[in-house]
Symmetry: C2
Subunit: 268 residues, 2 copies
C-alpha cells in the first residue's frame, strides 16, 4: 500500500508534457484539496519529467480557483534549460479551465562557500514532550500531519486575539514517510492561516499564491528521514482582505531546509 | 521628457495579449537589464491590459536568461478572472526564446479589519542626514536610485566579511518620480546581493526568481509620492550556489508597502 501522500501526488503520463492526476479524500480541505498537496503534485510533474535537470530551487504556485474533487491534468513544460538551471511553467486544469498556475526553478548545485544566517529557535521542547494537536472540525488534510505546537502557540479558536502571529510546531507526516522534495513542498503550506492567531477566530481564507525556496539537497532530506521537522510561521501585514505569511522548515538538527512565503485572502 | 523609468517600461500593444518593449541603457546591469525594471515592465503589461481587474497583490518573476540589449516582446494573459481576483501568466521573449517568465495576482480590495505586525525599524537617521551612496564601478541602474545606507550597513567591498547580511537604506528614484505599482515592483529588487555583505567582496551573482507581495493600494502609493522609501533586506541561508534574500519596502511614515523574496545564484 502506498502512503496516501504518494497516492495523492501520483501522476500518469499522458504525453510529452502532460500528466493525469486526481484529488485524494485524505487531503481534502474546506473547499477543494489542501494547497500543499496541489503544490506537491505540480512539483512532482517536473520531478518525474524525462527532461528534468537537477533539483528544485524554487516553486511558486498560484491558486486561481479551488480544484474540484476528481481528476485533473497537469501541463509541465521546461521553458528554458541552461547549463545548470532549468525553468518550468506548469498548469493544473480541469474541465472548466485552469485552476492553478505554477513556475519552478531547478538547478544542479556545486559545493561552494556556504553559511547559515537565520538561527534555529533556541530552547524549544522536544516533539516527544508535546501533545499532538487534536482539534475537532478541522478538514481531513490536518490529520495527515502529526502537529505538535509549542506551548501557547497553537491556533486560537474562540479564545480572543493575540498581538502577534508567530507560531512554531514540530510536524511530520502521519503515518510517517521519508522526507523528499515533494513532501517538503507540501509541508511548506501546513501552517494555519495567521489571521486565526491574530483574531482568535476562524475566518474564510484562501491562499492566492505560495512561493517556496529549497535550501536543502536530496542528501539533506534523506538524512532527515521520517523525523519531525520544526516549522515556524509569522505574518507581517494584514490589510484590506490580504495578509502575508512567511515560514521556515528546519531539520531537527537545526538546518534550514526551506523558506516559504504566501499571500492569503481573508474575509471578515 | 518622460522619466527614464517610464521609457524603460514603455510598451506598445501588438495584439490582444502581446506588447513590444525595449531595454533602456539607463537601467543596464552587469549582464542584461536591471531585474527590477524587467519585473516592472512585465507588471506594466498586466497594468495596461484592457482586461485588467483591480490592483497587484503579488508578482513572481523568473529570470531564465538575461535579456539581450534591444527589443523584446511580452505576452500577458489573464488566465483566470474571478469576481475579485485575476491571475496572470506573463513571458518576456526575444529571438532566441523565452528569457523571463512571470505570474501575477491582481485583486479588487474591500475595506476589512487590518493590522500591522512587522514593526518599522526604530531610531533610524533621516535620509537628509545621510550621504548618498557613491561607489565607482557599479552598473548604470544603481545611479537611477538615490540610495542612503544606514551607518555601517552599506555594501562591503574588500573590507572583509560580516556575520550577518541585514542592511537598510533610504531609497528613491533619481531623478524623483511619484511612486506607483510599477516603480514599487522595481524597487523591490534594488538591494545589493546579500553575499556582498556576508563575504565583503563582490561575486558573480544572478537572481533566478523574485516574488513580491503588495500590501499597499494606489492611494497609499500616491500619498508617498516622490519621497524616500525605507528598504530593508536580509538573507537566511547561503548554500551551495544559492541564497535567499527577503526585503521590506516601507513608506516614510512607517507603513509596509511591499515585502519581497528572491533566490539568488552565486559563484565563489
Amino acid at each position: 500500500m502506498p502512503h496516501d501522500f504518494d497516492a495523492a501526488i501520483h501522476l500518469t503520463p499522458l504525453g510529452e508534457h502532460r500528466f493525469a492526476g486526481a484529488t485524494h479524500p485524505a487531503y481534502a480541505n474546506m473547499v477543494g484539496p489542501y494547497g500543499g498537496v496541489v503544490a506537491a503534485a505540480l512539483l512532482n510533474a517536473a520531478l518525474q519529467h524525462p527532461q528534468r535537470l537537477g533539483d528544485p530551487i524554487a516553486l511558486t504556485v498560484n491558486f486561481a480557483a479551488p480544484p474540484a474533487d476528481g481528476g485533473f491534468e497537469i501541463d509541465a513544460r521546461p521553458v528554458r534549460t541552461n547549463r545548470s538551471t532549468q525553468h518550468w511553467s506548469l498548469t493544473l486544469s480541469q474541465d472548466d479551465g485552469v485552476a492553478v498556475t505554477a513556475t519552478a526553478v531547478f538547478a544542479t548545485r556545486r559545493q561552494t562557500w556556504s553559511a547559515p544566517e537565520a538561527a534555529f529557535p533556541p530552547g524549544l521542547p522536544a516533539a516527544a514532550d508535546l501533545q499532538r494537536l487534536k482539534m475537532p472540525g478541522l478538514p481531513a488534510w490536518t490529520r495527515r500531519y502529526d502537529m505538535r505546537f509549542m506551548p501557547g502557540e497553537a491556533p486560537r479558536m474562540g479564545e480572543g486575539g493575540a498581538p502577534q502571529s508567530l507560531s512554531r510546531l514540530w510536524v511530520r507526516e502521519e503515518p510517517p514517510r521519508p522526507l523528499d522534495f515533494a513532501s517538503l513542498a507540501a509541508v511548506c503550506d501546513c501552517f494555519f492561516p495567521r489571521i486565526f492567531f491574530r483574531r482568535g477566530t476562524p475566518a474564510p481564507v484562501g491562499t492566492v499564491t505560495l512561493t517556496s525556496f529549497f535550501h536543502a539537497d536530496a542528501a539533506l532530506l534523506a538524512a532527515q528521514g521520517e523525523r519531525h521537522l520544526l516549522g515556524s510561521a509569522q505574518g507581517q501585514r494584514f490589510r484590506n482582505g490580504y495578509f502575508d505569511q512567511s515560514a521556515q522548515i528546519w531539520s531537527d538538527d537545526g538546518q534550514l531546509l526551506a523558506s516559504s512565503h504566501q499571500m492569503v485572502y481573508y474575509r471578515e
